[in-house]
């Protein structure tokens, strides 16, 4: 399939106009050669995202969600040539406002990082340099992209720290990361990511390491800052609750592939993929009375070296047997179930609706 044909296949949200989306990922593949074989972390992933919207990428460990975000940021080490250095093999296209980042030089992508796109990491303690003060690290990023003197940059850092809710920012700017609590460190990292008003913000499990009251503060902060800067946000998480709080659109990943993609409203109210059902059924619910048993997904996620042929989820799927062996042989592609909602599954629309209505929804 040619690239242009593939680009036409990228599913657009109805709200997304004909104009070019802000971020577009087309048939992205990220493979890591290892001694045991080729690890296919991301294997044919496509999605698009507009300014002012938040895309939640959901999946379990090893589903490829973080690898995808590192690929967008250009943070994978790429081998200089075949078989010389270990590293990631990337193919596909990543367009940021029409510019294919994968075709650009690492130096060029580096110049975009911080200014055009920025990232919030999961663990702020390891993402910050313990040797420098928090202020120093924010000032450094700001001065690389903006021709200002230290004094102006320092004032900017203090402003930012204040805006993300750190008390006494003019004192705290000179503190070291270890002097901050976990929540404050995460705020400081958000301040660092926002120092140049990035158009694209990728938040990789931004609240996983935090307590629930602090998590609520941070999610509110990301929401406020997004509406202030009208940036596009990619939110990577394993917590469907966080996705429901923050995301406009949701992409469910499994074994490096997209299983389901749609608006948050569609995904939570009319989920169409058996894996999504499994994720929803596995979650103990805070907001409802106890259902007797959780609808756990059987088995464990596959090895990314030996991804099952056909639908990667079929060994764990309770409904794979209904597809006359196609689940084992044919890889399902994302296909629309309703406007803006696509699913990669061999079940027919009628079967799917019946299973959801009669077997899954009453159990949640």
């Amino acid at each position: 399939m040619t690239t242009s044909a593939l680009r036409d296949l990228v599913i657009r949200h109805p709200g997304q106009a004909d104009e070019e989306p802000f971020l577009e990922v087309v048939d992205l593949r990220v493979h890591f050669p290892t001694d045991d074989g080729l690890v296919k972390s991301v294997d044919g992933l496509s999605f698009a995202l507009d300014r002012g919207r938040t895309l939640g990428i959901v999946g379990e460990s090893g589903s490829g969600k973080s690898v995808t975000s590192l690929a967008i940021m250009g943070l994978h080490t790429r081998p200089a040539s075949e078989q010389t250095r270990p590293g990631a093999k990337l193919s596909g296209e990543i367009y940021l406002e029409g510019e294919d980042l994968l075709a650009k030089s690492p130096e060029y992508v580096r110049s975009l990082r911080g200014k055009r796109m920025a990232m919030i990491f999961q663990d702020p303690l390891s993402a910050m340099n313990p040797y420098y003060t928090v202020g120093h690290q924010i000032i450094e990023a700001y001065r690389i992209h903006n021709p200002v003197n230290k004094k102006v940059a320092r004032k900017h850092a203090i402003d930012l720290l204040g805006r993300v809710g750190i008390p006494e920012p003019s004192h705290r700017v000179d503190a070291y990361p270890h002097q901050f609590s976990g929540g404050m460190r995460q705020r400081a990292m958000i301040a660092m990511a926002l120092s140049c008003d990035p158009d694209l913000l990728i938040a990789d499990e931004p609240t996983t390491a935090l307590d629930v009251t602090v998590q609520a503060q941070i999610l509110d902060l990301i929401r406020d800052l997004q509406s202030e800067f009208n940036s596009a946000v990619v939110l990577i998480t394993h917590d469907l609750g966080v996705v429901a709080e923050l995301a406009d659109d949701v992409l469910v990943m499994y074994a490096g592939r997209a299983m389901e993609y749609g608006s948050a409203e569609q995904l939570f109210n009319r989920p169409a993929h058996p894996y999504t059902w499994g994720l929803l059924g596995s979650m103990p619910r805070f907001d409802r009375k106890k259902s007797e048993r959780l609808l756990a997904i059987k088995g464990t996620p596959p090895s990314l070296i030996n991804v099952p042929p056909g639908c990667p989820f079929h060994p764990r799927c309770s409904y794979a047997a209904r597809n006359n062996g196609r689940s084992e042989d044919v890889r399902p592609e994302l296909a629309p179930v309703e406007p803006g909602h696509t699913v990669a599954c061999h079940l027919t629309q009628i079967e799917r609706e019946q299973i959801w209505e009669h077997e899954i929804a009453p159990m949640l």
């Binding site: 629930v212 429901a244 709080e245 939570f268 619910r285 106890k290």
Partner: protein, 355 residues
């Protein structure tokens, strides 16, 4: 173990229904400084905690990092020695038992750890790991250790033929099952689980929660579960204690606690939980707590929550609210509790609604 004969029958029955009773439990970790290593302060990790765990129930302790929930768990099964207070297991005071006296007790109480990677010895086979309790206690199960271990592996949903494999050959969820098989080896009565599923993926977490539930029925177990995830706690518990800075602020039956939390901290905690339901995104009223949890080295005086509480008044800064039973089976330590019906409403309410 029978209660002394002179005790009133009611108290004896009460004693009998409680497997473990904790009274005024205190654990302070000393902070030493200077050449003489003089004690300059203490981390007041657990500071005066009272509760009793009934036979056969699942009792959960929930709270944020640093609230003392894990320390409480470790005190309960005496991996730590309390600074003060009293722990009674089946009528026996175990507060200050020596190691040699504790060892026989380990048959009755076991622990499931959070991290299935660091709690299994990578150099031992699964058979050796799960069989270790038999070896350490000098117990020969009927049919031999190997058969007992294979039965245990089957009971937790692992293949008994994997007896000779090593931990690295298993996934996180399977390792957690191995740890659970080990705790079950000596048929304990009490299992203390410290964040048993927080290191696992969602789909695996559900498998382990279902397993714990099955095992409780099959082996007649009493669980004390330590967790920070309020959704998990709601799913597994019969009764829940909420801790903040070393103290229990609220203790109630699960349904009562989740339906109508009374302590402002519990209310704030629950309002912060993200719920996987987009329709409720707008409806929910969220109470955002400002700032961070204060340091347990110098906790705020009186009510420890007053620095972050939106209802705090002068009395909260001067007088510590005791943990009292405001509604039947619903204990709260607060001067101005939420969801507290006034006296008339309380009197006229049918019993069933205020269980």
């Amino acid at each position: 173990m029978s209660a002394p004969a002179q005790q009133p029958a009611a108290a004896a029955a009460e004693q009998h229904s409680n497997l473990i009773i904790v009274e005024g439990l205190i654990k302070h970790f000393p902070i030493r400084a200077g050449i003489l290593r003089r004690q300059v302060g203490a981390v007041q990790a657990v500071d005066g905690v009272n509760f009793a765990v009934k036979r056969g129930e699942t009792f959960s302790i929930v709270g944020e990092s640093g609230c003392g929930k894990s320390t409480t768990a470790r005190l309960l099964i005496r991996l730590l020695e309390p600074t003060g207070g009293k722990i009674t297991l089946e009528g026996r005071d175990i507060t200050h038992l020596k190691d040699s006296q504790l060892r026989p007790l380990r048959r009755d109480m076991q622990m499931i750890f959070q991290d299935p990677y660091s709690s299994l010895n990578p150099r031992h086979t699964v058979g050796k790991i799960v069989g270790a309790p038999f070896r350490l206690q000098g117990v020969t199960p009927p049919g031999g250790v190997k058969k007992a271990v294979q039965d245990l592996l089957a009971a937790v949903g692992l293949n008994p033929e994997h007896y000779n494999r090593y931990p690295h050959e298993f996934s996180g969820g399977q390792r957690q099952r191995i740890g659970i098989a080990r705790t079950l080896a000596l048929r304990p009565r009490l299992i203390v689980a410290d964040e048993p599923v927080s290191a696992l993926d969602v789909s695996i977490q559900a498998q382990i929660l279902n397993l714990l539930e099955d095992l409780q029925k099959e082996f007649d177990l009493t669980y004390v579960i330590i967790a920070h995830d309020l959704s998990v706690v709601r799913h597994v518990s019969d009764r829940v204690a909420v801790m903040y800075l070393g103290k229990i602020v609220e203790l109630a039956d699960r349904e009562a606690l989740y339906r109508a939390p009374m302590h402002p901290y519990t209310v704030a905690l629950m309002s912060a939980v993200p719920v996987p339901d987009t329709r409720r995104r707008q409806e929910r009223e969220r109470i955002l707590l400002s700032g961070d949890v204060p340091s347990p080295i110098s906790p705020p005086p009186a009510c420890r929550f007053h620095t972050r509480c939106w209802k705090a008044q002068e009395i909260c800064r001067t007088q510590e609210p005791p943990l009292v039973e405001l509604l039947p089976q619903h204990h709260v330590a607060c001067h101005f509790p939420e969801n507290f019906p006034d006296e008339t409403a309380r009197a006229s309410a049918p019993d069933g609604t205020l269980r």
